[in-house]
């Protein structure tokens, strides 16, 4: 069919015409093959500008349109719509970027004009090969998967469930609650973390629309926006959740005690245990690594089982609910959802790698999380601030930026440490007023509602703020008053002196870092990661919770370090994004997808493994690859890789790109 191309060159006021001789370019365009009309206009994106195009499509029967103006990232949708309105398939349109890529970056008018011509000729040659494409719509499954049971996941799950849509909440630990459940108070308002979190945890546990799957992990995700298939491994708990009443007798009976994860190794738990006083679900779990019976079974021996049998001669019965089931195995569950909210959180930076801070060498150098547990009424010391050897510290130092803002570890600022350090200082001043508290900081970053005021409050409460990063912590005393102390050495940069501060306890305000398994998570959910290792959002400003995989959202600290308010806000945002899609009921999927020409497919399967979206399946009978267009994102990796050239990347066909290359070189 004959090509009838219309070309429109935009002045963009003087943004383009200031550097590019627009008339010359228009003249040049007129001379190009298959071009039936070429015009220039002050503002092509304006209504009159768009109308020019619409009218010409009708009058001159245009079947291809080129607009040379700004970046397609700016106005491609605008002009596509214009074409659509005039009855021309939107994919029969092409744009030449002569502003961002030309008039704005070059000064020499002649050279800029020449380049503009090249770009226009490229667009014309390209559009010649454009084909009409149809965008498809698929229905949306109204169920939502939330991965991670911290405050982010809890919030997202509740918001979706409250709108009476099914939510599957998957948590790898035996209880939900995440890091927030370990905290004592929360800054800057100082309400107790448990007091504001546990009600939410309970309502998750009881919500008719939430199916809670703790001690479970997502192993595989296939499908596409609106229609994901998810494989989940429910790890063997060795407890019948239906029967367990959470009475806790089993953990009293269990003879094996090990360091408690929840108390960051400061307290102990048993091999059979309920993770925390306010665990949800409030059910026991058996640690197969530690349980002597399970380890015995592996060796064919039947030992212990005190939790089950109790101690008869003492007349202490075992589990009365008969909930303990050593025969349990992992089970695989498959669910279908339309949207996925990833809220896998962070992990605390391990400060032992910073040798000079002595974490792991000095008992009284502890991490922030450990302090949260020490200060927490439900913690190993019942909320009393005590050193490792049970003394009441006479002075405490808090070190900022441990693992953050450091090229040797993490370049980024973890954003919450200044604030939680202030919180620690407050708790310390409150619980041991006689003990001086020192905070060694580089910069105080207190941006947030009520944050600076909190800083001011702590200044009033008498905290010693020293502007300098600690160089090292030593126990080698140089003066009598340093004997038996930890000495923090830093420069007080405001008086330009090196100072040695003897203290009894040092709290390291550690960085928030991506979880060790972030890479695996990224692979399962087809997420990208930023240079700092956190998950990449679709747009840092305008689309902060969506990702490049439609229907998959990232919220909370897996996306970047942030405080609780921001986390909750993101969770709500993601929930409403999911709900929006659910209420619309269908989603449009990319039309510029790849398609296999089965005639030419050699069945080498190279493309199958290459596809980052698992969009390509292999038809074992016909021995050809097949692409699920709803899943394909049109990246074209398979197109370039196909040795027999059997795959076509729609709207980025080899033909089209070759033509464009020729074009830019005229």
């Amino acid at each position: 069919m004959e090509r009838r191309i219309g070309v429109y060159i935009c002045h963009c006021g003087t943004n383009i015409s200031g550097t590019v001789d627009v008339e010359k370019v228009t003249e040049f365009a007129r001379g190009l093959d298959s071009v039936v009309v070429a015009r220039d206009y002050k503002y092509m994106c304006s209504d009159p500008g768009q109308n020019l195009i619409k009218e010409d499509i009708k009058e001159h029967g245009l079947n291809r349109v080129v607009v040379a103006s700004c970046s397609p990232r700016m106005h491609e949708p605008t002009f596509r719509r214009a074409c659509q309105d005039a009855g021309l398939n939107q994919y029969l349109f092409e744009m030449a970027n002569i502003r961002e890529h030309c008039s704005w970056v070059h000064e020499d008018r002649a050279m800029a004009t020449e380049k503009a011509r090249a770009l226009v000729s490229a667009a014309v040659r390209r559009v010649y090969y454009h084909e009409p494409l149809e965008t498809k719509e698929v229905p949306v499954n109204p169920s939502v998967l939330v991965v991670g049971g911290g405050i982010a996941g809890i919030q997202a799950a509740l918001e979706v469930a409250d709108s009476e849509h099914r939510v599957y909440l998957v948590e790898k630990e035996p209880s939900i609650g995440g890091h927030m459940a370990q905290f004592d108070k929360t800054f800057p308002t100082l309400d107790c973390a448990a007091c504001i979190l546990t009600p939410k945890m309970t309502s998750v546990g009881q919500h008719p629309y939430i199916q809670l799957m703790t001690y479970s992990e997502v192993e595989d995700v296939s499908g596409y926006v609106g229609n994901f298939k998810v494989k989940i491994r429910k790890k063997a708990r060795y407890i019948d959740e239906g029967k367990c009443t959470g009475c806790g007798r089993c953990q009293e009976l269990c003879p094996v005690s090990v360091p408690s994860e929840f108390d960051c190794g400061l307290g102990k738990r048993k091999a059979i245990y309920i993770p925390s006083p306010y665990a949800v679900p409030n059910k026991a779990v058996i640690d197969p690594e530690k349980c002597s019976h399970l380890k015995g079974l592996a060796g064919g021996k039947d030992v212990c089982r005190l939790c089950q049998t109790g101690i008869e001669k003492k007349g202490i019965p075992g589990c009365e609910a008969d909930a303990i089931d050593f025969s349990q195995n992992d089970e695989m569950v498959e669910i279908e959802v339309g949207n996925i909210i990833v809220a896998t959180g962070f992990q605390q930076f391990d400060p032992s790698v910073i040798y000079q801070y002595g974490y792991g060498r000095y008992d009284n150098v502890i991490t922030g999380l450990q302090f949260e547990r020490i200060s927490n009424a439900s913690g190993p010391t019942g909320g009393e601030i005590l050193t490792a050897d049970g003394r009441r510290p006479e002075s405490i130092a808090i070190l900022h930026c441990v693992g953050s803002r450091d090229v040797n570890y993490h370049r980024y600022c973890s954003r919450v440490c200044c604030m939680y350090s202030l919180k620690y200082s407050h708790l310390l001043r409150e619980k041991i007023p006689e003990a001086p508290v020192y905070q060694m900081y580089i910069d105080m970053r207190c941006a947030g509602s009520g944050y600076e005021e909190f800083y001011e409050r702590l200044q009033e409460e008498g905290v010693n703020f020293i502007r300098g990063r600690a160089g090292e912590i030593t126990n080698i005393a140089e003066t009598p008053e340093e004997e038996g102390k930890l000495i923090v050495i830093c420069e007080d940069t405001l008086i330009r002196r090196k100072r040695r501060i003897p203290v009894d306890m040092v709290i390291l305000s550690c960085a928030l870092e991506p979880r060790a398994d972030a890479d695996q998570i990224a692979r399962i959910f087809s997420l990208s990661r930023k240079a700092d290792g956190f998950f990449l959002e679709k747009h840092p400003k305008l689309d902060p919770v969506a990702t490049m995989t439609d229907g998959v959202f990232v919220v909370g600290c897996c996306q970047s370090p942030k405080d609780i308010p921001d986390t909750v806000a993101q969770a709500s945002a993601a929930a409403s994004r999911a709900l929006a899609m659910i209420s619309k009921g269908r989603v449009e999927v990319e039309a510029a997808t790849a398609v296999v020409d089965e005639e030419h497919c050699a069945g080498c399967k190279i493309c199958v493994d290459l596809c980052p979206y698992k969009a390509i399946s292999f038809d074992e009978e016909k021995k050809v690859s097949r692409i699920n267009e709803a899943v394909c994102k049109g990246c074209g990796v398979c197109v370039a890789a196909c040795p027999s050239g059997a795959i076509t990347g729609r709207h980025f066909t080899t033909e089209q790109i070759m033509a464009e290359i020729e074009g830019v070189l005229v």
Binding site: C401, R405, V407, N408, I442, D443, G471, I489, E491, K498
Partner: protein, 189 residues
Amino acid sequence: MEKMIRTDAFVNEIAALPGGEGVRLCIQCGTCTASCPNADRMEHTPSQLIAMARAGMRDEVLSSDAMWYCLSCYLCTVRCPRGIKQTDLMHALESLAVREGLSHGRTLTPAMYRSFNDFVYSLGSLPEFGFMTWFHLLTNPLRAFRLVPVMLKLLKRGRLSIRARRLTPQGTRQLRAVLDRAESLGGAR
């Protein structure tokens, strides 16, 4: 208040020195100072030198004694959260100070370094104890005297080299040629 015309000239000069690249990145956290065994002896702390440099205080920085107390232990370098090569920067500042004739009087170190270099230049090799004695006699005969017992011990234990190791004549000639050319090419700035 001290009137100061803000100027980038000096910080640019330093940033152009090998080792000085990082000065603009410094966040003045003081880790270098805190890690420095000699910071207490310094007229200005290591981080302060950078702050002064960025304030354009050229003469104050170059006539400071701070860098002359640097032991080249490199603790500051491996700990700097911004990856600044503080130790190298100290050496660069020393070289600059020397070139400007601003090297500091309060410490003997510059003088010691110089005579060290004279030794190396003329011998191509350094009999350290011989050099020590010579240097002390030169600068502070009293200390030389105090060191006599030490020297006797060294002698008794066969550690005082009477005869310094020499390069072959052609080796010496070659070394001289190289060093002379190097000096004619100016410092590493």
